[in-house]
């Protein structure tokens, strides 16, 4: 039956025409026309009955191929339509829900690192008042009566002061005296806290800033213990390649006194912009507690010796975070604070 070939060709042509003319949503019409029990393909298969066995084999194969092709095309159409009809998934490229993201102030972060580091060395926190008396802030710390730190150009004094408070402490060092009076010796403390100076605010000065003071008094404490303690501390803070350097200096409440320099953590001593090419960064004062200070609080200065040191929290925070203006710490601008996650 040679016209079967012609029928198949026409059916194929018909299907491709219908595929073009039919909207995807109408895929079922296509299916009914071509694949239904009485559809075009079924009719063609029926015509096989009248063929020779050889023709049956040949046209059967061609018909099957056509049927498969049509089925496949209709399925494709169907899944396309079904996908479009399915309830929509959220656009996965949309931003997620902004959960609140609280931050700790960079000064608190730095203070916590300092306190935790010293805590591992057995130093506990001891705090004292910010409103102080001249006795604790100066006299008990062996500050000579003529020392310029006592001047109104350096220290902020309280209007209508009382016996309880006369000034805003200029250092956290008076806590040494409170602690020695309260706890006696041996003692190993650090005192973090806020201090005040009569300084006009600029990029490197703030009238309010934070210090951490350290004090250790026991039998046979030497300057080597001081050096070891500070080396351990600065290595924990700034990295194990840090070295420290002592330079002679003068502080009324320590003798011998030393200015503490640490290897610049940015260039490791080679010199860079941050350390002004010196390879070192000045971190704060230190020294052996002056016998007059110990004597003043009734500690046997022959039996006991000790060391004390101080460091600036803002200075360290500026170094750690690359902050170039100290005033940023007190402005509370969220554009600043939110950087310290």
């Amino acid at each position: 039956m040679s016209n079967l070939e012609e029928h198949i060709r026409i059916a194929k042509q018909k299907f491709h025409q219908a595929l073009q003319d039919t909207a995807p949503e109408a895929w079922e019409t296509l299916k009914n026309t071509f694949l239904a029990r009485k559809g075009i393909i079924a009719e063609l298969f029926a015509m096989l009955a009248e063929c020779t066995p050889e023709e049956k084999r040949h046209y059967g194969k061609t018909l099957n191929e056509l049927k498969n092709e049509i089925t496949e095309q209709i399925e494709r159409l169907k899944s396309k339509v079904e996908f479009q009809l399915r309830p929509k998934r959220l656009d996965p490229t949309l931003p997620g829900k902004p959960y609140p993201y609280p931050r700790v102030h960079p000064l608190t972060q730095t203070l916590n690192r300092i306190v935790d580091t010293f805590a591992r060395m057995g130093f506990v926190v001891e705090e004292g008042p910010e409103l102080e008396t001249a006795y604790y802030n100066f006299d008990a710390l062996n500050t000579p009566i003529w020392h310029p730190a006592r001047e109104k150009s350096d220290t902020l004094y309280i209007l209508n002061s009382t016996s309880e408070y006369e000034l805003l402490r200029t250092e956290t060092s008076p806590v040494q005296i409170h602690a020695l009076e309260k706890r006696g010796v041996p003692i190993r403390i650090i005192s973090p806290g806020r201090v005040y100076r009569n300084d006009k605010p600029d990029a490197t000065h703030s009238p309010v800033f934070h210090q951490v003071e350290g004090l250790c008094v026991d039998e046979k404490i030497s300057m080597a213990d001081l050096k070891g303690t500070l080396l351990g501390f600065y290595r924990a803070m700034l990295g194990s390649r840090i070295e420290i350097r002592f330079r002679p200096h003068f502080f009324p409440f320590t003798e011998p006194s030393a200015e503490v320099d640490v290897t610049c953590p940015f260039c490791y001593g080679n010199g860079c912009r941050i350390c002004k090419q010196s390879g070192y960064i000045e971190m704060g004062g230190s020294g052996m507690v002056h016998p007059n200070v110990l004597k003043g609080v009734g500690v046997d200065m022959e039996k006991y010796s000790g060391f004390a040191f101080g460091l600036g929290v803002e200075r360290l925070a500026m170094l750690l975070h690359g902050v170039d203006d100290i005033r940023l710490f007190y402005e509370n601008d969220l554009r600043f604070l939110e950087q310290f996650a």
């Binding site: 506990v124 009238p207 016998p291 509370n332």
Partner: protein
């Protein structure tokens, strides 16, 4: 701060080391070099010349055509300097001289050929001064030879600006710094000789020294000279050095006194003898309110504590601080009295503070001069004046030093030295040598102890520990080893207040708040408008009036923080601060300094996000929600609603154990300002607030610092049943009242029952509130059956319905 010249140091000690090495050595001796200024030598082919003639430049108004005399020839040079004048000695750079910015070549300047340059200091690279040419002197003193190359006489130098610590007044001079280097390098000092041609009449026959205030001035020494040419300028080298010390040259006599002070550290004063009466010089205390004119022409009103130098009739100088106008050296001065005295540091300090005078002289005396340094300083000055200005000098000096100050002797124990420094390599002999280098006399007392007598200029060496520092310093701090063994048992628990504050910080952050830290010094005007100025601690000498009060509450800081961020583009701000407040403040407290926690919320409680079209603004519910979470820290506070608290509205008071510890509420700044009360409007205007700020603040001091370790409570394993009841209630009934009433109904129940509000709707038109109660019940023994459940629900329903105006709407 003291300025020290490297070349000047070389007059006093051999220094083969470079200026840079000396800088390093000084740093490690405790003298921080803040600045090092290199001054180059004058380049080759720059010679001395004198100005012979000045003609105007024919083609340029501002230029001059100058004839300069050199070695046997004259040169005509075009020069634009305003200060060029006849008979000046100047530095002339000849062809080929390499100046700072150019090499001298013949040029034609506006039509006139000029093949040399009359140099400014800047052109020679010695300073930045290019206001005019560098004048080396005037022709009438024969300091220079025409045409002599200057590079031999004007050499390079380095000027150090050194921070001398307060205890080392003895190092405010070249001699002082040279002494330190001498001890460090173990190299001798060369004190410059003081040749003086003396008459054979002793000074004491010419003048007597009478000290009426031997405490203010323990030692006074004077020399007398006659026929001195005081009007001469000092020589170039001296003027040059004084310039680097920051002092202007005046005349040879005054310049010498300054020069000797910078050299030896001892301030001197020269009087014109013509104005001294009665052949007497000495001291007395000032009379109360006595008026004296110092040579800066200022009237000084004195007190009895001040020391005056006086002659037989009148005061002639404010001792140790400044000379008097009535006896200063003038051009016509011929006869001189030269004073070298030692003044008591405390007396000088008091006077200079009270009068507000800080002179080079007072700066040295108040920190402690050298009582034995007067002899050398006086001779050095006399010798220099005679050398420069001629004149005759009477034999020796007149002096009064009634009670010589005894030398200080201190014992140094080697054991103590080793203990403090943490290393034991120093022997008694080494220590002895070291102190000898410092001009101390030493005597070993026993094998371990050295007696050290310190020189009179070392006021800082008072006790053993000071000697220990000297050993550490001179041997070098780098010798101190690092000991890393702990010496105290590590049994101390961490400070619980510190830990508590860390917990508070964590607690506040769980609400999504960011931590702030503010200045504790605030503007009293801010406190006043917030009605929290009363009892504020104020600063006597504030940095600025805006920083003159200590904050009494965190409120003021929080408002500024919120405001700053709203003004910089934020729509919402949620922050907290844990900080100290001072004085009285809003919350009663017995301590004048305490830790508060403050929270500020403004704007929307939800972040801006595409999914939220209308974010919820912060409200009282946020405040209550946060405060309810205090239970996390096992703190049980009562929150009592109030219409207002201070300047806040929709407020709450926070009570802990019946004591008021804090408050919360709203500071309004509505866009429609007319809705606000007068008070709130004034605040909104003062702080420029235009949206509400919710504030929570409480004092943490009364709250426990030791946090309880949570204890396990058994819970029921049987199912929990939930029933809801809905009521319509009148507007005045509070949620608290409904819940309390409901709870009272089931007080004796054996089940564990919780009652909460799960829904609320306000029908403003009908002035009714519909409220939904959720009852959750559970037994520890069994699963509840329907009868038991209904019994509970019924009891609650009945009890709540007894409240006036309450209608039951439905059970769900």
């Amino acid at each position: 701060m003291v300025r020290i010249s490297y070349q000047w140091l070389k007059d006093l000690i051999d220094l083969p080391e470079s200026p840079e090495t000396i800088c390093e050595v000084l740093t490690h001796l405790g003298f921080e070099v803040e600045e090092m200024q290199h001054i180059p030598a004058v380049p080759e082919r720059v010679v001395a010349g004198y100005i012979l003639n000045i003609e105007p430049h024919p083609n340029a108004d501002k230029l001059k055509w100058v004839t300069v005399g050199l070695d046997g020839e004259v040169k005509k040079i075009v020069c634009g300097a305003p200060n060029v004048a006849l008979n000046q000695w100047v530095a002339v750079a000849l062809e080929g001289a390499k100046l700072r910015d150019f090499v001298v070549t013949p040029r034609t300047i506006r039509g006139i050929e000029s093949d040399a340059v009359i140099c400014s200091e800047r052109e020679l690279g010695r300073s930045d001064d290019h206001s005019g040419i560098w004048v080396l002197g005037t022709l009438d003193n024969g300091e220079w030879t025409a045409g002599e190359p200057l590079e031999k006489r004007i050499v390079s130098d380095t000027i150090y600006s050194i921070e001398v610590t307060l205890n080392r007044a003895d190092c405010l001079s070249h001699l002082g710094i040279a002494r330190e280097l001498s001890a460090k390098f173990k190299r001798p000092l060369h004190l410059l000789p003081t040749p003086i041609q003396e008459l054979n009449i002793p000074t004491s026959q010419i003048i007597s020294v009478i000290l009426d205030d031997p405490i203010g001035c323990p030692r006074y020494r004077a020399r007398v000279m006659k026929d001195v040419a005081a009007n001469l300028p000092s020589p170039f080298w001296m003027r040059e050095r004084l310039k680097w010390m920051g002092t202007r040259a005046i005349n040879a006599v005054v310049d010498v006194t300054n020069y000797v002070m910078f050299e030896t550290g001892h301030p001197l004063h020269a009087f014109d003898r013509e104005f001294l009466y009665g052949n007497v010089i000495g001291t007395r205390k000032a009379k109360p309110k006595e008026v004296f004119y110092t040579l800066d022409e200022v009237e000084r009103v004195l007190s009895e504590q001040d020391v005056l130098i006086r002659d037989a009739e009148k005061a002639v100088a404010l001792g140790g601080i400044m000379g008097g106008l009535n006896s200063q050296i003038r051009e016509t001065t011929k006869d001189l009295l030269l004073e070298a005295a030692y003044f008591d540091p405390i007396t000088i300090r008091n006077t200079s503070r009270r009068l507000g005078i800080s002179s080079e002289s007072s700066k040295r005396f108040e920190r402690g001069a050298d009582v034995n340094g007067v002899v050398y300083a006086l001779d050095r000055a006399t010798s220099l004046i005679q050398m420069l200005c001629g004149g005759e000098v009477y034999f020796s000096a007149a002096e009064s030093y009634p009670s010589p100050l005894p030398p200080r002797s201190i014992n140094l124990r080697m054991k103590r030295l080793h203990l403090i420094l943490g290393y034991e390599s120093t022997t008694l002999t080494e220590a002895s040598d070291l102190f000898n280098q410092l001009n101390c006399q030493t005597t070993p007392i026993d094998g371990d102890t050295l007696k050290v007598v310190v020189p009179s200029y070392r006021h800082d060496l008072q006790q053993e520990i000071d000697l220990i520092e000297e050993v550490a310093r001179l041997k070098g701090y780098s010798l101190i080893p690092t000991q890393d063994k702990a010496t105290i048992p590590l049994t101390n628990p961490q400070n619980e207040h510190w830990l508590a504050r860390m917990r508070w910080n964590e607690w506040a952050r769980q609400f999504g708040l960011t931590e702030c830290i503010s200045n504790t010094m605030v503007d009293p005007n801010d406190l006043a408008i917030l009605e929290i100025l009363e009892g504020a601690i104020q600063i006597a000498n504030p940095i600025a009036s805006e920083l003159s009060a200590m904050r009494t509450n965190l409120l003021v800081s929080l408002i500024h923080t919120v405001n700053h961020n709203l003004r910089h583009g934020r729509k919402s701000v949620a922050v907290f601060e844990i900080g100290k407040v001072f004085g009285k403040g809003l919350i009663p407290s017995s301590s004048f300094e305490r830790w508060h926690i403050g929270i500020a919320l403004s704007g929307n409680s939800e972040a801006e996000w595409w999914s939220v079209s209308k974010p919820k603004p912060y409200s009282a519910s946020d405040v209550v929600g946060i405060l309810e979470r205090l239970f996390q820290l096992h703190i049980h506070c009562e929150i009592r609603p109030k219409d207002t608290f201070g300047v806040l509205e929709e407020a709450f008071e926070i009570f802990h154990q019946d004591a008021l510890i804090g408050y919360a509420g709203k500071l309004d700044g509505a866009v429609k300002k007319e809705k606000l009360t007068e008070k709130v409007r004034a605040i909104a205007k003062h702080f420029d607030i235009d949206q509400p700020i919710w504030i929570i603040e409480f004092n943490t001091e009364p709250l426990p610092v030791q946090f309880k370790i949570p204890q396990y409570q058994p819970f029921s394993r049987y199912p929990e049943v939930e029933r809801d009841l809905s009521f319509s209630i009148p507007e005045h009934l509070t949620a608290e009242k409904i819940v309390k009433t409901a709870k009272s109904a089931i007080e004796d129940s054996n089940f564990s029952i919780s009652i909460s509000i799960f829904d609320r709707h306000h029908d403003e038109k009908n002035q009714r509130i519909s409220i939904g109660l959720r009852i959750k019940m559970q037994s520890f023994e069994k699963t509840l059956n329907e009868n038991e459940i209904n019994d509970v629900v019924h009891k609650v329903l009945e009890k709540v319905s007894t409240l006036e105006g309450v209608q039951w709407r439905s059970a769900m």
